[in-house]
Symmetry: C2
Subunit: 294 residues, 2 copies
């Protein structure tokens, strides 16, 4: 199976499980509809893929499935809240009307809250499910909570709003992106391995890989915004792409950004050396993230 087929297979399995989890935890009605709308609105399921591929290196993909779903719930809630009129005020995402356009602002806020809460409910339930796996699932859940939280993704979004339309330097740009995007990418890789149980040195290696691909992910996003390829791919052109916002592409230029992305991808792949052949999927995924065109 090549990496694209594997991504498709993971996306399908995660989507089935997300559906099951929604049905198990929500009553039918407006809230569930609003949550499901954004949860099923497409997306590459990159975070679940990183989590499950990482878990599979240690032979425990099944143990990480609910963590992978929780990662996608948290990612989706962050998109719903980021799109709100008070935030980025986006009316389209992936070519579809955003949550608040369809369900109204109040329900979009609550659907986001619901997804964030459900992510933790699901991880806690999974931890309680097996006494043997409990400490590992807990460690995985805690990494996710930290990355999503007030020193991670939420801090990044606050800083992003604060510096919107302002001139800022490389340090601020790195601060924002390391928190807003890269933290959850890194936590996705780490949580999969943690859910199975790994050594300190293994988790350090994965953290290094996660740091590198988190940065690559953002640089490539910025290049695609700049070169307009995202438009062709049907992705929303929100404020991010329209405004003359500071990005890696504007700061370093396209060519230098591409060079850094390639360099960091190599570094990510080197970090996986201790895992030998088992790391093939994560290596292929790192290359795909660098070369993606949407």
């Amino acid at each position: 199976m090549n990496v694209k087929e594997r991504l498709g297979e993971i996306a399908q399995r995660v989507e089935v499980r997300l559906d099951e989890l929604l049905d198990a935890h929500c009553e039918d009605g407006l809230l569930k509809d609003a949550m499901r709308y954004s949860l099923t609105a497409g997306g590459k399921r990159l975070r679940p893929a990183l989590c499950l591929m990482s878990a599979e290196m240690f032979g425990g993909e099944a143990k990480a499935l609910d963590i992978a779903c929780a990662l996608e719930m948290i990612h989706t809630y962050s998109l719903i809240h980021d799109d709100l009129p008070a935030m980025d005020d986006d009316e389209l995402r992936r070519g579809k009307p955003t949550n608040h356009v369809v369900f109204g602002e109040a329900n979009a806020i609550l659907a986001g809250d619901g997804l964030l809460n459900l992510a933790f409910e699901v991880m806690l339930a999974r931890a309680l499910d097996s006494e043997e796996d409990m400490p590992n699932i807990l460690r995985a859940s805690h990494i996710v909570a930290s990355a999503a939280g007030v020193r991670g993704m939420i801090a990044g979004q606050v800083a992003d709003m604060l510096f919107e339309g302002k001139d800022f330097d490389e340090d601020v740009l790195k601060y924002i992106h390391s928190r807003k995007t890269a933290a959850m990418i890194k936590a996705s890789v780490m949580s999969g391995a943690l859910a199975v149980g790994v050594s300190e040195s293994d988790i350090s290696a994965l953290a290094h890989y996660g740091d590198c691909i988190g940065l690559v992910f953002q640089i490539v996003d910025d290049i695609l915004d700049e070169t307009g390829d995202q438009d062709k791919m049907g992705k929303t052109l929100g404020k991010d792409a329209q405004a003359d916002k500071q990005t890696f592409a504007t700061l370093y230029g396209i060519e230098e950004s591409r060079r850094i992305a390639a360099e960091k991808t190599d570094e990510a792949i080197e970090a996986l050396a201790p895992f030998g052949d088992k790391a093939q999927e994560l290596i292929a995924l790192a290359r795909l993230m660098k070369d993606r065109d949407n």
Copy 2:
């Protein structure tokens, strides 16, 4: 120590710990300021008190302190989001400008998200802190997650918005309040005991107590709204109190509402019979909740 002194002592301890947790988890700056603003804006700290008194019945108050703080974080986030322009659009709470009035709508949404996420971060960290306590802390955290979530508090808020300004019957009123308010009151009591570790029959008794006082809490709130006592006490008169909204007081009348509150308080106290003298604090708190004038 009488129950009011005990409440004061708990509030103080919880506020010190909330401060510590904020400092430990947040970088200085706008997000932390916004979170701290609402977290320290007063309030009776009723949910932490129920949690800690319940834990103390089983001799484990210290084990439940971080769960108590998480309950208050979740309660506070729900107030911040409920006050937003897209929701209840309240400009004052407890006599102070609401979070979005001070920090802007985007930061208020993010401060709420941050508090919800931090609540889980804190509970997960506490569970990881001790292998011995881990399963108990997890059970407590899971009850909190369920009560706060998409079948609990969030579902109640969605229904509350959906039926706003509409005529509805007793069943809808009970649906809304059992989820929006009572679920977290009940989870507060149960989580304290669960954090220490209790038998199935003990937790059933506490669940029964929690169901009763959750209802009493809401009925008394409705009576105070109706009789305008909340105004005198300096509490915000938001839309809730101004509009001719369906409440227990409008549905049953003041006298019948008072009778039901008294009856349910007795039932709550009876449910604590198995705990004998150890239940004195929770008994006194139930009476105080019935007789409160703010």
